[in-house]
Subunit: 366 residues, 4 copies
């Protein structure tokens, strides 16, 4: 099994999640497509990045991301830094010939995202935008069912990502700084909803949206509400908020088609609700525990019913990317490429425009 | 206990639901405010209306509603007919001095609804628009908790009324005829969502909406999607559809405030989900079975945990109206008056306008 | 439609539930098999029974049940009195030629229950022991599925009836007096579990049980725990308690067979959980809302998804009895006869014996 | 951070689960009490054990467990082999001065378990019987709430471990061989129920039980049903089965006390149902997502609401043992010692005796 050198930017939440994935891939997915070698980690705070290097087993650390993108030992650059640090390092790494994974949202705007995508795509490296929820087994199962026509023609998508940690005026983080984050709930949570809407249903054609900041003085949006149309005729809603008390990580969605329906909640991410219009007198939604031997990603794990956690979505995601690198295969359509990152950003921009203009905005891609 | 003569227009779904309520009030609510005497029932089909009279115990039947509105034995006129038959008989009854209850939507448009309200209000009779879901114990409990400040400042309302019976191109009923119904899912289901949004959160100030008819040849909308703003700052969504396979009567709503959250599903109408931000280490939504002795309407019924059905909402609603009649009290704010019926219609009209214009529409009341 | 005169003993909880059923049958089940005429109601407290007569519409009232059993206007005697008043009035009514319905448990012991059954059966009247939970639509659907072989061979029954109102040492009622009640949770709640176990799975052959009284000074049991075997090979548990805080009316059961499983909770009585081992990749329990047009008893009620309440089980039950009376048909097997009442009592007695002896007790029927 | 050499016996299900835990502890629990060094793995099949060594990163492999127990580089011996291989290697390792962890059930009988405990305890090493479900955050939270008196006096424990993989007559594994496994569902699943009953409620004093083998020719039990008494007065049931179709890993338990109740299901292991009798008008069970910063084990993981999986229970468990080793602290009471393994075996033996004798069996400990 060949090695691939990993260079990581960021040591906080996403640094932990991605580092864990790199380490688990070596033995949980067997045989792994490539064996990650944790070469270097970069971050702004020297003490913190040094501690992270020791903790996760990176061979070295640096406070200058430029050290990583130029390191020949590194084959994959993973950008888990703040949104404002997505463009430059990611492009530099790709132009230095490294494959790249970048956290979502890809950029702080459609313009920035488009530039990242174009610059990186031109290099020919593999690129993945870390919409990790595509790699929840229940989400992939949903995609497979829809692709197989089991839901028929899709009529509705209702997606909402509800959290409640934002209800604290004393909070400070780059996530509340407009220049670093670009937006608030929109890019943080709404982008996930948009990506799964595109992944499961198809392109969004229009949005009629409004954004709201509830806490005085906050630079970014706390919540987004949108009515949406899809290219193939479905309609629905996209919502996100950091102020839904009691909802910790409730990314909930429901899809209704002409043959059945699906529903999901990230707080119970091992379960998929499935309704089939099959004429059974016992009619209702099934609670499917997506943990069978023939379910997506399950060959990595345990016997049926022994559930996995949120952290494993990154194992699946990075595994997918390593497989594409090892086999020179495609990241799309099951992984989100930078094009997907850009497209989500176009929808986010349309939401901002609609919120400001009060008109239904049509999404067009460049 | 005084009697009140009832004249009923309509013998189908709503005729059954209301007739059942009139009969149960006499012994389940004790002592009843007034004892309903089922004087007459009117309907277009002679055989059907005669059968209904026999079944529900009306003393006589007629195919001409004018027979009812002029009958001195009748003190309360109940209009459970198609939407196109709401205005004329209801106004005539009120002008003949009868108290009136009318099914929702009050009229087929804001104009018609406004006229009904104004004409009826001018007579001084009691009027109730049958938004029966205000009379679900869990909904009333939610209202009481919000009024008492237990949720703090409201930030979000998410309401959706999902059914699936509309997915049949062979269906025919007045509900699909634009002239009789006025609209499709909007007036049938959306009006309920709008009424509870107003009942629980407050006036809606803007809507950004779209409507969709999925089945070719259908005259009315199958689904509505809207992002909404409330006067006091909350934002959210209002949705309804007759094409959500697997959802039979899923009127679901969630409210998030600065101190807590509530959630509800009509398919489990005895339950209210309650989250309180009270610092308890055991943090989460409670599944409250709204059937305690001190819960709304529960003195009429059974010991705790012995749930009631959808039909009982009409018992509570009509009881409320009879109490207002008997005591010369107010139908508002716990019952929906014709003003509430009119206000819901203004929101419905704004949704239609927004769907057509693609712009965020502001709601103004006359 | 012929009338049948009703004589009711008891005006409290069961008096209310049964009286409501008699009144609703006349118009909710259409056409009713017979039209109940509420002739007389008997009870010990004169003021209370007079009030009940007025409330529920009985033509007359009495404090002496003997007045009822001899009244030629009465065709059906309904015994909703305390357990100690089941035997004598019920037998007297039957011997006077009246059909009889008696609340459960039939008697305070197998001996007493056997005597009631034998004496009443000898008269040839129709007799029904009011195990009303057989008449929950979801329970009947379960029975139909099992009869049709959809679960295959039954291997497990787990039934528990959990309430929490017993946790109050100041409570006083006939239900805590050993002479009036016979037993505590056992006859009140456990008998229901036993009846549904027999209804759905078959005869119980052995019990290994223990009973417990938690509150000092209480004459009757608060809780029962039993491991049970069924004649056809299934095994499981039967439990009941009045001291499960937070459970108001949680009669929960689960059945596992060789082809599927079913699960149920009375607090959500409109729902049946259904698992089919049908090879579907989307594998799980369905939450079936038992409210479809082709579901048991549903032709009496509303469109799908518009749920019914606990009180309606009595409508179904009494309707079933009236149909048997009208058509000279059988109460069994869908209704519980006095033989079923007796058989449940044999199991209860075996539980008492096992609790005392510490040995597995075999149930034999006389 | 000091290293500790690990010697692992077994490479299948438990070998994978434990190896994963050893690897994750080094970076997920930070700083780890000791850093596991994967020295050697032993197993019967050479090809399989060699593959496992490569996969999980053990420095060497062997087909003879004696190679491990004598290796001075090994400080902790982990026995994940079949039940028949628990005694000899575990005792040998302890007598060679290695700390030991042994999968449950500790032995195939109370006699064997007692011997393992006594022999190992005499050496003074740390010993842990791998009842990993004590290390589910929700289970530990339950224990903490009960210890703090939040449930008051415990009255009921209802525990059942339901799986369905046993319904296949072609299955073959050591788990179905009486000599290797000792028992079937009893030791595999029932032992877990017994351990949590002891962990949460206290010692079991009597059992009234029956066991059943449904599939012809199978040497071990498929299911166990038992009514139980606890020393401090609680009563309840213990059940387990491998034949509950639709239940994949449904280890469900409920505890009722004089102040509140708790309920749990391993298929949703991140959730604890909590009822408090606190007089709140909004009365009901809370669904607590046990993932808050102040919840057990959560400092190792993610932000609230980002759930963990079944596999992480082993991370917590091994971490607990390494902490005890590093600090020379106690494994008890939060970890299960070999004494706990023995005590569970006494209850298992009493269940077997009761099933055979048909009498209530009293549990006494040596």
């Amino acid at each position: 099994i060949d090695e691939i050198g990993i260079g990581m930017l960021g040591y906080a939440f996403m640094g932990k999640a991605h580092s864990n994935a790199f380490r688990k891939i070596s033995y949980m997915t067997w045989p792994p497509p490539l064996r990650p070698r944790l070469v270097a980690i970069a971050g702004r705070n020297e003490e913190a990045v040094a501690g992270a290097a020791q903790r996760y087993g990176y061979e070295r650390w640096t406070t200058d991301w430029r050290d990583i993108v130029s390191d020949p030992a590194i084959g994959l650059f993973d950008n888990g830094g703040p949104n404002s640090l997505h463009a430059e390092p990611t492009i530099a790494a790709a132009e230095a010939g490294k494959h790249v994974v970048c956290e979502k949202p890809l950029g702080r705007s459609a313009d920035e995202s488009h530039a990242i995508w174009q610059r990186v795509a031109a290099t020919g490296v593999k690129h993945l935008c870390a919409f990790n929820y595509r790699f929840v087994p229940a989400v992939r199962l949903a995609r497979e069912m829809i692709e197989a026509g089991e839901l028929g023609e899709i009529r509705h998508f209702r997606g909402r990502y509800l959290q409640d940690w934002g209800d604290d005026p004393t909070l400070d983080s780059w996530r509340f700084h407009a220049d670093e984050a670009g937006s608030g709930a929109l890019g943080d949570l709404g982008a996930h909803v948009i990506d799964l809407a595109r992944f499961l249903v198809g392109e969004i054609s229009t949005v009629s949206a409004l954004m709201r900041t509830f806490l005085a003085g906050r630079q970014v949006d706390d919540a987004v509400e949108a009515a949406v149309e899809f290219e193939h005729g479905a309609v629905g809603t996209i919502e996100c908020t950091r102020l839904a008390l009691g909802r910790r990580n409730a990314f909930q969605w429901e899809i209704n088609g002409s043959k059945g329906s699906l529903a999901f909640d990230m707080e119970r991410l091992n379960e998929l609700q499935v309704f089939r219009a099959d004429g059974d007198r016992a009619r209702g939604f099934k609670t499917v525990l997506v943990s069978e031997a023939d379910h997506p990603f399950w060959d990595f794990w345990w016997p049926p019913g022994h559930i996995i956690g949120w952290g494993e979505t990154f194992v699946h995601e990075i595994h997918h990317l390593l497989r594409a690198i090892a086999d020179d295969g495609d990241v799309a359509p099951y992984g989100a490429t930078f094009e997907d990152g850009y497209r989500a950003a176009e929808v986010c921009d349309a939401i901002v425009r609609s919120s400001e203009s009060g008109t239904r905005e049509t999404i067009t891609y460049r």
